[in-house]
Symmetry: C2
Subunit: 325 residues, 2 copies
Amino acid sequence: MYVLVIGGAGMVGRKLIERLARDGRLGDKAITRLTAHDVVVPRPPEAPFPIDTRVSDISVPGEAAALVAERPDVIFHLAAIVSGEAEADFEKGNRINLDGTRHLFDAVRLVEGYAPRLVFTSSIAVFGAPFPEAIPDEFFHTPLTSYGTQKAIGELLLADYTRRGFFDGIGIRLPTICVRPGLPNKAASGFFSGIIREPLAGQEATLPVSEDVMHWHASPRAAVGFLIHAATLDGAAVGARRNLTMPGLAVTVGEQIEALRKVAGAKAVARIRRAPDPVIEKIVSGWPRKFDPRRAIALGFVAETSFEEIIRIHVEDELGGRIAD
Amino acid sequence: MYVLVIGGAGMVGRKLIERLARDGRLGDKAITRLTAHDVVVPRPPEAPFPIDTRVSDISVPGEAAALVAERPDVIFHLAAIVSGEAEADFEKGNRINLDGTRHLFDAVRLVEGYAPRLVFTSSIAVFGAPFPEAIPDEFFHTPLTSYGTQKAIGELLLADYTRRGFFDGIGIRLPTICVRPGLPNKAASGFFSGIIREPLAGQEATLPVSEDVMHWHASPRAAVGFLIHAATLDGAAVGARRNLTMPGLAVTVGEQIEALRKVAGAKAVARIRRAPDPVIEKIVSGWPRKFDPRRAIALGFVAETSFEEIIRIHVEDELGGRIAD
């Protein structure tokens, strides 16, 4: 089986490729080749199958066609300009997130007799406030960002191209990934990971919102699990509605902090510094907090059920089991 | 006030321009100029203001920019490849309905300091079965045609371009227009109008589905009313959710026939010939039947409340008040 990962240098892409390298297979099929694509050079791990890397911009005409010319059996399309950048640079966001996705879908369409499984990472940013208490699977899309608009358009195209038999697509709306490894960044959502990651590493973290703010989380390990399940599940069981809200865990910031206390003690919690920021409070208040993702759960997608579990996964996968004193 | 009608040669476009010519104004402002645009030559009526016509393809780069260069105050974007053709010719449907719409939106965006009211006709084809008994305003979009997909994408772009201040957009999802004037056509929905229009004109009509099929209707006159209300209502009252399901009338084919009997008698009803067509039955079974369009009603959009009223409008507007013996 030949696997193509577009966006293979990003956090989720790297973790997906690591997992595939470790498993040597996707579902019940051995992987014989993998291509990791991104706009920056991917650094794939050792693997029991050859991995080649490609660097290009899928929004440039012809690039997508070159990527799919050798007919990968499964395509993971993870590449995107993130929310903040797509909002700051409207034309770039549309070029990459909208045109890039459409070019890829059309490139697959134009390969004769070819209909691979295509897994597309959408986002809960397709939803816009006001929301019901828990957002049901049939809730409409009224994104409040250009990023969410572009992802919602990708979902519509994916469903139509699948209906027409051009490929066999599954779109998955990822929760906020927590604990996100790496350095703190300026994303408005960064603090959800920061208030766990920095204290576990002995660093101070800033909390810009109140403790009653609720949000929707899954670990990086769960996100990789979603991708693999989406790549291998029976398309017939999914039916015509190809885009799914992934399961996740709705917790308040206060509950995150209590979980941190249980896993790492009061000393870790003491490293969280309150610094209320009305701008971030306002942005976050427009985000979805909680879902009722029955379809994905019925289809076998699995997320964490406690925030302590999410923290322990970070400690295992990123810190080699060690918590800073 | 300068008004631009894109799709001005179509049935709804012509009726809109006739109404504007009759009124001489849009809301409380006198119309000083109107441009009717289409891919075929529009034939505008006499009017108390100058009407110029333009013929071009808005999917060709530069055409949309030329149309908006003189800054129309209100733009009606009614142009589209219809459902059947967009399904038969995927690339043409995407080129006109998706790229054409995006080119227009971008052309408006790129005119400095310009943010006109833009009214976009979407469709109930953005919805796909299975449905609840009456589709609520927050129901999600899972179109089952490429036309519905293209319209749903237009809605998403309209909302985002409005949010960013590029224009002041309102998207309206029209019911099936009934009684559609003119010759019978091969659209799968054609019989909903045909079984009324042909008998009133003394012709035989074919009914390919059973009498318990329910559908969602509004008259051409109501559709023009929706467009004018959308062009003149207060955008602040609409808020961030810029796309609205229009009100309509949910009736069964049997109820349509009973209304025809009341308006035109048993002789007219006798001109309906039953010819069940399983292909059309199947297509129609995937269409929405009934909505609960509370937002549009609260915002002041008005449709007919009986099918007799819909028939009488056709007799008045198209037949000069005369029903065939």
